[in-house]
């Protein structure tokens, strides 16, 4: 994967990425956050600021704390120390403004739902307590499907979609929440490079109006759409892409390796 993409990074230097404006209005703020699941700390004294319309890729080795970081941002777990703020509120309160996309491997691939059924789930919490979804909810869901280019497949069973199509539907579901922030957990997992490129293009388009944070297990590859790369391995390090772009791909990769070793987590390991 790495060898195929030196150009992507090289072009960043010349490309105008209009980087995120952190000072104006932080979307996510982590201050001295530590977290442990009854054992050694998974996240230790993490500080992170994500600005409006940033496109953040969170990378790091398996077990390094990427998913934990995402769960902290969603308020699914509470930090042992420090504070997490999303859109100026506690994550639990801000949840309704977060569009979340889980790893699709968690879902039952044979569940009897249509594409539109799945996207409508994004309207939960805004739709009526009892009875069917309103016409307005359906309209929002259809618009979201249109944005990911899947409107024509709205009646297709979810079970009969390809991997890339499923990811698009799950992104549409997150969009149907009418969010200000998208949190995506490994959206590129198990997709072939061509489909990944299409999906990055879609995310780049959505990034024009939304802040995006995505987790990736693939640390050898950094898309040109990213504005910030966050390395998580118990500790958290932020790298603006403009800074990274001055280095060659090989340098950056080596640098990440050093950084990850720096964390000295017991299972720190880099898979090329």
């Amino acid at each position: 994967m790495l060898s195929k993409r030196p150009l992507a990074l090289a072009t960043v230097t010349s490309g105008d990425m209009n980087g995120s404006d952190v000072t104006a209005k932080p979307v996510i703020t982590l201050t001295e956050v530590s977290f442990t699941y009854d054992g050694p700390p998974v996240i230790q004294r993490a500080n992170l600021v994500v600005g409006e319309r940033d496109f953040v890729c969170v990378i790091g080795p398996n077990g390094g704390g990427k998913s934990t970081l995402l769960k902290l941002m969603l308020g699914l777990i509470e930090p042992n120390q420090g504070t997490v703020e999303v859109l100026g509120k506690s994550p639990r309160v801000a949840r309704s403004l977060i569009g979340y996309m889980p790893q699709h491997a968690q879902l039952d691939p044979r569940f009897p739902v249509s594409v539109l059924d799945v996207v409508l789930m994004g309207r939960l919490g805004r739709a009526p307590m009892l009875g069917p979804y309103r016409q307005a909810d359906k309209q929002v869901a259809l618009t979201a499907l249109g944005e990911v280019g899947m409107a024509e497949l709205r009646r297709r069973p979810f079970a009969r979609l390809s991997g890339g199509q499923r990811q698009r539907v799950l992104i549409a579901r997150a969009l149907a929440c009418e969010p200000e922030l998208l949190l995506l957990d490994e959206p590129m997992a198990n997709l072939d490079p061509v489909v990944q490129d299409d999906l990055y293009e879609l995310l780049g388009k959505l990034n024009r109006k939304l802040t995006i944070v995505m987790v990736s297990h693939d640390i050898g590859f950094v898309s040109l759409y990213f504005k910030t790369v966050v390395c998580v391995n118990r500790t958290v390090h932020t790298h603006p892409m403009s800074e990274l772009s001055h280095r060659t791909v090989a340098d950056m990769y080596g640098r990440e390796v050093r950084l990850l070793h720096h964390g000295r987590a017991p299972n720190a390991r880099v898979e090329p």
Partner: protein, 283 residues
């Protein structure tokens, strides 16, 4: 078959049986679809076997202690709801393994039932009708209770359709949308318990699990949205219980067992036909 139709005109017992079968089928289609989609059929199995404890105890209190108002069916409702809530609580909160607890409840419910029945006159017939069902023994009062439970299950199951669908499909996402996942999971288990009770009167507690899963499995081969599966499964289930009753009438065979045998046969037929069909298409 013509004899069955003739008898149906005069026999209140048969009319009750037919009505009970159709009512149960509606609940079965709706709740069975959730249960199969969420993959918790083993919970339904555990709850079904626990009802023996409730029925046995209620029968004992009724016959031996003279609590006339307490019918075995009431005991079944209490035992099923109790079992569902315990299993739900364990899977949500406790650190015990869920499957271990289900197996334990399964056996304990049976054991309590057998002990109570052993101390109650009429051991053998009671046990047999609880285990294998006897749709022809559905009394007028029972029928009222069955239809009441049925309406409750259908109203709740359909009223919260969107919530149940989301919670069954993606728990974490639902929680993030502000849905109380725990509440809806427990509610679904309670609906499952009530459906099981209704079905126990039709096919008996041993065979309940077949009537919950097979019509849904058959429907799943033809339609692909959950509400469509519910509708088709309810129709299939009603057709099966009615046919089971009709076919078993003249040779005097147990209708519950006949219904399940028909369901199993239909399922194998559909799966077989589908396999042949796909083979032919793929060459």
């Amino acid at each position: 078959m013509s004899e069955f139709l003739e008898a149906l005109k005069h026999s209140v017992l048969l009319q009750h049986a037919l009505l009970a079968g159709v009512a149960a089928s509606v609940a079965c289609g709706i709740v069975g679809s959730y249960v199969v989609a969420r993959r918790i059929t083993y919970i339904a199995g555990g709850v079904a076997h626990c009802t023996l404890g409730g029925m046995g105890a209620a029968r004992y209190f009724n016959k031996v202690l003279g609590w006339e108002w307490l019918e075995p069916l009431h005991g079944a409702v209490i035992a099923a709801l109790l079992a569902a809530l315990i299993i739900g609580w364990v899977s949500l909160r406790a650190k015990e393994r869920e499957d271990t607890v289900i197996s334990a409840l399964w056996a304990i419910g049976m054991a309590v039932g057998v002990l109570f029945i052993a101390r109650t006159p009429g051991y053998y017939e009671d046990l047999m009708s609880y285990l294998f069902g006897n749709i022809l023994l559905v009394s007028r009062d029972n029928l009222v209770l069955i239809i009441g439970l049925d309406l409750l299950v259908v109203a709740v199951g359909l009223g919260f359709y969107n919530k149940f669908l989301a919670v069954c499909f993606d728990e974490e996402f639902s929680r993030l949308r502000g849905i109380s996942v725990e509440f809806y999971y427990l509610l679904l288990l309670c609906l499952t318990a009530l459906t099981v009770v209704v079905l126990v009167t039709i096919v008996g507690l041993v065979m309940v699990i077949a009537l919950i899963t097979l019509p849904v499995a058959i429907a799943g081969h033809f339609v692909s949205r959950l509400w469509q599966v519910m509708l088709l499964a309810a129709v299939i289930s009603a057709a099966l219980t009615t046919t089971g009753l009709a076919v078993s009438y003249q040779p005097e065979l147990p209708p519950g067992a006949m219904t399940i045998a028909l369901a199993g046969g239909l399922y194998l037929l559909v799966v077989g036909a589908r396999r042949l069909g796909t083979k032919r298409v793929s060459g």
